[in-house]
Subunit: 318 residues, 2 copies
């Protein structure tokens, strides 16, 4: 796989590869000890750490014939950052464990790391440590750390009847992009790109927390499925207004038609866009759009008062 000018991971060896991956990276001030020791040390002035982890497996969560390593790196960081955002926290650091076949060109590992820094840097966060191992296929496991700055975390369990449900970010785009890739449709490049690199509404998690959000999550498994977690954990019924989802439905309608899919299904059940959805007791802050209400009953999620009959999102072992 590699010619003379492009050494593989095996040819370079673990530590020289790691040296290349960390060289020249600019760590945030909060990172007291960065890569190169047994562990990293990151300031958490709040006295608490918010932590989340996600694993991406080649062939399951990404395909290297669809995504560049740079895009895989961006996606891995983005989806973990969204989990931290959805607690109302600011992401400060990541650690990354990366498994790849020994004949992987080292330049491709470098590109993966570049993508991670490209996504993490603007958030003010660093990749502070990691592990590099041999694996039959690429496996990227990211753990993200966040800081609450004295605020309580926004859990899934706080939604109360009478509140409104609002969204920040995009719905249905990643699922539309997936279908386009899957069916080999070359149009709609922006949607296909969005499947490879989601665009979470960075910063809106804190905005929501400061605006009094009662409950929040990111849309990783699909709007109905993820709101279902809030409904269950809060013991409430969530009723979405189909009209309020119209902008997202419109954005994927042409692509859905080309791919012979229902655009509403993409918006209601498509995951991996990592929009944030939250419940607010009153007005929603700028950057958020009301899409439904919280009611007594349930737990469950309805659309215009009715149970949606499509697939209810995506589960890991389906």
């Amino acid at each position: 796989m590699a010619d003379g000018g492009d050494p593989t991971l095996r040819q370079l060896g673990e530590f020289p590869v790691i040296d290349r991956l960390v060289a020249g990276r600019r760590q945030p001030a909060a990172v007291t000890v960065g890569p190169g020791d047994d562990a990293a040390v990151v300031a958490m002035p709040d006295g608490r750490v918010v932590v989340s982890t996600d694993m991406l497996v080649e062939g399951r969560h990404f395909r290297l014939d669809w995504s560049s390593p740079l895009q895989v790196g961006r996606k891995a960081i983005a989806q973990n950052a969204a989990d931290i955002e959805s607690m109302g926290a600011r992401v400060t650091a990541f650690v990354v464990a990366f498994g790849a076949p020994p004949d992987t060109p080292a330049a491709r590992a470098q590109e993966l790391a570049d993508g991670m820094w490209l996504e993490a840097g603007p958030l003010g966060a660093g990749i502070v440590g990691g592990d590099l191992v041999a694996s039959p296929q690429w496996v990227v496991s990211v753990t993200a750390f966040g800081e609450l700055s004295g605020r309580p975390p926004v859990l899934r369990s706080g939604a109360r009847p009478g509140s409104v449900v609002a969204v920040s970010g995009e719905l249905g785009r990643s699922a539309a992009g997936y279908l386009l890739w899957h069916k080999g449709i070359d149009d709609f490049s922006e949607l296909r790109q969005r499947h490879l690199v989601p665009r979470p509404p960075y910063g809106q998690g804190i905005v929501a927390a400061q605006a009094g959000a009662q409950a929040m999550t990111d849309v990783s498994d699909g709007l109905l499925a993820d709101l279902g977690h809030i409904a269950r954990d809060s013991g409430v019924l969530i009723d979405l207004a189909a009209d309020a989802l119209r902008p997202d439905v419109d954005a994927v309608t042409a692509a859905a038609a080309a791919a012979d899919a229902d655009p509403r299904e993409l918006v209601l059940s498509g995951g991996e866009d990592h929009a944030l959805v939250a419940c607010f007791p009153a007005a929603v802050p700028p950057g958020w759009r009301v899409i439904g209400t919280v009611r007594d009953g349930g737990p469950g999620v309805l659309v215009d008062g009715l149970r949606w009959s499509g697939a209810a999102g995506w589960q890991s072992f389906d």
Copy 2:
């Protein structure tokens, strides 16, 4: 792979499996938000978090025909805990990402989690979150968190000429055990067990830090290789006394003879025992044994003033 009474991960689905994995676990008081939300929240009263991550891949880091899932779980926690110990910190929490084929019996995932809790519980630490995904083979990615309680971290870079080098824990056992497994030798069950579940000297990292350790690491790649990191990062020469390593050599001599190996090589270059090695300016605390001295020069690691000619430890992509 599974009969009617033993459902697979696919049959149960991601969330029901996770529900089973977390049911009934007792989280430490420091865990404000445990599994079940987008992220966990763990108290870090020190205002800093110590963090390390390791990935274990089936066929590379463990074999399911040698190890039970319980043993894999214990090993994954132990090796990450050792990284936190080697910073002079106390481990407080772990997150775990687990990939496995969908036809894996759910009971085996449960056994993996049981092993993790068996190892983490006595440390006062909890498994506070995770991810469960489909993967062609088992992949276990653990991130560990530690608390320094106001102390500075003990880095690899602090060793100074005139200090002594000391070890806490075992050397050579895991490598001996590996050889026994590899060659199909059924004797020496304790050494074979030790390869599957290392026994880090829990608590000795803090003991060393409180006793003034200048530099510390755990032996994951081999004594010479890991001390080589301290020598390089500190800019010193480390000279080990072969006599001082005699107890470890003796402990693996019979097994080495049976496996046609050099017991000194097992002790000097065998990794994965996760002993702690540290440099102290003066006396070493109880539980530690002097094995060498720190000198001007190098950087490098000698044995009785000579360069050891065996393999210099284990690298991920060898």
